[in-house]
Symmetry: C2
Amino acid sequence: MGKRVLIIGGVAGGASAAARIRRIDEFAEIVMFERGPFVSFSNCALPFHLSGIVEESENLVLMTPEVFDKQYNIDARVNHEVTAINPKEKTIVVKNLLSGEETIEAYDELVLSPGANPVLPENIKGIHSAHVFSVRNVPDIDQIKRYIDQNNVQDVVVAGAGFIGIEVAENLKKAGKNVSLIEAADQVMEPFDYDMAQILHKEIMDNDVNLVLEDAIAEIKDDCVLLTSGKEIPGQVVIMAIGVKPELTLAKAAGLEIGKTGGIKVNHHYLTSEPHIYAVGDAIETTNLITRKPTRLTLAGPAQRQARAVADHMYGKQYRNTGVIGSSVIQCFEMNAASTGLNEKDCKKEGIDYRTSYVIPKDKVGLMPNARPIYFKLIFAYPSGQILGAQCMGEGNVDKRIDIIATMITMNGNLEDLKELELSYSPMFGTAKDAVNMAALVGLNILNGEYKQVPVTEIRSLIESNAFIIDGREPDEYEEGHMINAVNIPFSEFRNRLDEIPKDQPVYVHCLSSQRSYNMVKALQMRGFDNVFNLMGSFLGLCMYEYYNDQVTGRKPVVTNYRFDLL
Amino acid sequence: MGKRVLIIGGVAGGASAAARIRRIDEFAEIVMFERGPFVSFSNCALPFHLSGIVEESENLVLMTPEVFDKQYNIDARVNHEVTAINPKEKTIVVKNLLSGEETIEAYDELVLSPGANPVLPENIKGIHSAHVFSVRNVPDIDQIKRYIDQNNVQDVVVAGAGFIGIEVAENLKKAGKNVSLIEAADQVMEPFDYDMAQILHKEIMDNDVNLVLEDAIAEIKDDCVLLTSGKEIPGQVVIMAIGVKPELTLAKAAGLEIGKTGGIKVNHHYLTSEPHIYAVGDAIETTNLITRKPTRLTLAGPAQRQARAVADHMYGKQYRNTGVIGSSVIQCFEMNAASTGLNEKDCKKEGIDYRTSYVIPKDKVGLMPNARPIYFKLIFAYPSGQILGAQCMGEGNVDKRIDIIATMITMNGNLEDLKELELSYSPMFGTAKDAVNMAALVGLNILNGEYKQVPVTEIRSLIESNAFIIDGREPDEYEEGHMINAVNIPFSEFRNRLDEIPKDQPVYVHCLSSQRSYNMVKALQMRGFDNVFNLMGSFLGLCMYEYYNDQVTGRKPVVTNYRFDLL
């Protein structure tokens, strides 16, 4: 009667496409093929089964083939692997993995949503051992949990400190295991810049996970792994989460064009290089809204939107492909961490001139219970002030701040827009001037040359080179911990102590979180001090930035005392 | 040396202006006059002292005159009332309320931030009794708490169910008091439409506050109040929170122009009708960004931004006055409630053609702990699809959703923008398709005429008039509670039971939260049913909408059983 639409892959992209097609065309024949035993499971929630937060792994499955059939009249065939696509004939070859039977299925429209596979480097000796796992689907997580339980495993090595690696490590820690987290880069969580990642490093260390950076697994032995550094790390289970690569087997064999980034190339309508073949999700190359360049993004939200767009285009409905900006959030023990858009690394790579602002206000009115610091970094274009990205961490509502910035980026907002943004406020939920407003105000000061600042990454070398650093906090605050060599000239006294401040050398000012030092810097400038800098992040920012590396390297701290009790 | 700037009023607007002026001009002479004993206190946090959440009332004071002096070189004079302004002479008359002494102070620039006064109707007999209070400043809240404690008051009457009234009622309830909340309108919290307000009514009732709507205090007696309805409500303390009116005494006496809305008229730069006299905060008339019309808005965020703008203009700095949209959030027991922009009432008043969408998804992935429903109503312009406003309630992160919409409104976003918005997602924080995306999708369906819907406010009359209503849930769900007269044709069976559905009369479809019924409506349309409607909010929405009035009026419910256990 209607079109015959075949869908390869039955998770986020595939299942969304199927449901949307049904809503547009009650009479289409829709068949969805899934290699695994389940369709429509929550892959993002998989790690939470390891701690028991999601108690039963079957709860991870959102829709069964039976429900697809009864509610949506969609034929969802699990344990069915598509082994070939013949674009000229408009057919696919499908193998029933249980019976071994092969059939040829004809399509009017074909949707590829094959996803991405975990990277398992062949050069790691022992990578195919029975106690090495990856996390892609429900059987994977079931297997891991069963193996750990049955073998009473105590030590687990997680390789890769991205979203999956961190969530797996945290959930195993919550399950009482000894967890080592090995990451080849010098930081966890690529979406964050190095400075912000230090906050997560501290959080991971504080929660007793053995975090090993700039190292990788060379060999997997029975109850330990050998790192390239020569270190030996105990582990009776190894979970590989160092990254994913698009599943391209079918696409390549069918002659579909592959993009430069290694994803299936699609046009504005998510059509591949062959007519009537669409592709969505983790396997495709998409476009970054900010840089206008091809990119890959393995997130569920964009996959769902792409799937919807495919269905709409199939039936001649208008659709706007706006590309992606890359918004994400993760819970890392008590610290929530969210980001959107470009980070500093991206800007440097793309040759985009940018500036940043970094503020550490409270997430709600300070006198309310549970008011906690929020670490907020804003990236904006120079000199346009256009908002490019943000990174936010804290125990509170960081996703709110990042979603506001994501909206701003999408709507092409600049610092002036963000400064004036009128957000919902009451003391339990925020501050009258929110962190995002503050970051915009600081950003405008930078853009307008109102004052100069030094990033938190450079404070250590200033301290070590004996720069003139003013601590603008009160004496009791200074006494309990301060930057080495800093001179304590409180905000409440500085106008009477100007003669203590040199005019012939740069002067660096900080306080606890840069609110007081900002005022001091402005006043000093007007009082004839031409070479004054604000230290971004101030004392709190420096403590958070330096702590992890101080601890792991044993180097001498540049503060007399970390004051995390002030948080 | 610098300008002499005088500021009348030392709370949100005044204190912000003073601090900003100091940052721009280190040499200005800044004097801030405050009639009360405190400057710079958190007026929004006042009610939280009643429950002890803010234990000491002195914690409500953010900055003392001493700190203003030492840190900012600002002369903050408390207990100083400005009694007259002489614009021609550029002077004001100030009375020291402790000594009685009067002085004349000259200004180069004057900033008015006099705020607004609680409305205390003279026609209420007993309004000036010693046990009648209002909540404007720290002494007020101190007095109330002391009076209640010293007199061991058990019954409190709160008049007015706006922000202050609800927060006072909740905090007194938390302090163990019997609280009655009297509101003249037919609903609490004016920023919300009647339908959404029902959710708050239920929450207030569930928390054992005696909520009395469409009634008002006629007389205040010693230990009770008499309402206009004749009801007598026990209360040894009465707190008046029925509204505020701008404090205009000084402005009027000085001949400053007053706007039609009853606030001090200001121009783009917040200059009053007299040169060198600015006005900010609760006392002024501002402009609504959406309607472009004058309005009044008594919120702290806008006051702070206005204060900053005043300082900027005073010193020739560029500034953009974008008007206000009115974003707010309140915690009402376990229910958070936030709103932004225009509501339906506003649109009707302004003659703006609009449509709405109403969705009740979970606030995070359903299988995660603490996933809770979020009640989200979106208002958009017809036929442009421009986003006009939103209202959101739930136990979770409602402020996030409203702040996203506030950003969209500010950036002139429409439904297409909102539909595609890429927000930070992980199962602990949201869903891959967030409530705001879903509301946009439903909105686009309405805009494009994809299907028709009936608002939750009209479901009762459909039920009572024996309309053909299909309950698309499964039989076990139906059995445990359903709309009276609804026919149970589950989503999983309807294609085999089409002959049970009439073609000659309107058909209304619902499920639990309209996700399944949306699919059914689309399918039925394609199967030749031309007159099919989706019931907005579905069973869950109806239960929330009807419950409170059912309980207080004792009328027969239109559901066989409320299923709040499903929440």
